[in-house]
Symmetry: C2
Subunit: 214 residues, 2 copies
């Protein structure tokens, strides 16, 4: 890592799941712990970057020196990221953004005994794709994650291309919890870098790989 | 509180939300923090009871001296409670058990781009009602919670009757997070006791009210 390349750089990290409400108490979400995103934010801060962490609900504390913007839904996450984007040098989308949300939000708690409801879903905005689509001359550098339960590398490469990313981290659902993880980092120039170890180590690996595109 | 009434008593507390999976990463859940249930477990332990805490996923540590049984789904919670029930003197159902679960569980992560899915739900077992239905001669004493966004006391009284409970704690969604809460304790003899303050105080109030039925 070249520390001089990071000093004062503005890094935007998304982390955690999003929660998509059905009613005042129920929601749709996923098992993301936020650990990888928080580790990336902390590692970037330690390299001297100015870090904004837009995070869905997690049990984690924001790393010291990082600006935390807490959000709940995918749409809130997108809005928060768009505010920060114009001055951003590097985006790392580690959040597990819900792909869909319930089509309707009940203002009162849905009652039992009226038959089992059917939840109609509608697509959420693809946060990282929306951010990548606003790039000008390849800036900001944009990295994402692909969580796949089948055809890991093929699905990850397709996502990198479709979303227009510089780098994608491919991993399986075993990455969601725990402190260790396994992943393969793929870059748009066709290289791949496998990783296995603690999430803090993966964070450092992501940053050193992204540095080449800064 | 009469401490002699609690010494060695077996208390079963449920706490937290349940998570009902749609696929390996997505789930349906609710915003219960588990704080009230954990506070009840700790208060009962301090009174000298032998406490089993059957808990859905929370960010909390189990209180010292309490036996923690971690579960994910409503069906796992029911199974864990049924194992402990025969030797139980008091059940306090503070968990926000999901009323429904997705009718089908996808073994691989549902993919985007095949249209927005519709989630069919099926009813979950009513954990507390199932436990109360197995009572013999009024044992174990059984207490529950009613989280309502409308007609609070009427809905809570109906739940107490339908589920066959000795005591029900009626509260609104503002009870789900934070350390303070507002509630009304209703007992099967028709009394009501309002409470406002920290969750630890509500826990003590629930136990002192339940003591009359032990």
């Amino acid at each position: 890592v070249n520390r001089a390349a990071w000093r004062g750089r503005r890094v935007l990290v998304t982390a955690g799941p999003t929660r998509e409400p059905l009613d005042p108490v129920r929601y749709l979400s996923n098992a993301s712990s936020g650990k990888t995103g928080y580790a990336v934010a902390e590692a970037a801060r330690r390299l001297g970057a100015r870090v904004t962490l837009v995070s869905g609900p997690t049990a984690l504390k924001a790393p010291a020196g990082v600006r935390l913007v807490p959000v709940m839904t995918a749409r809130e996450m997108l809005a928060a990221c768009l505010k920060t984007l114009p001055s951003t040098d590097l985006v790392i989308g580690a959040a597990a953004v819900a792909d869909w949300r319930p089509a309707t939000l009940s203002r009162t708690k849905m009652k039992k005994g009226r038959g089992a409801p059917v939840i109609k879903l509608v697509p959420n905005p693809d946060v990282l794709k929306a951010l990548a689509a606003r790039r000008r001359k390849g800036k900001p550098v944009t990295a994402g994650f692909a969580l796949e339960t089948s055809s890991l590398l093929a699905n990850a490469r397709r996502k990198m291309r479709e979303k227009g990313l510089d780098l994608i981290v491919a991993n399986g659902p075993e990455a969601l919890n725990g402190d260790r993880t396994r992943a393969v980092l793929l870059t748009r120039d066709g290289r791949s870098h496998p990783y296995a170890g603690p999430k803090a180590g993966l964070a450092a690996k992501i940053l050193s790989t992204a540095e080449a595109f800064l």
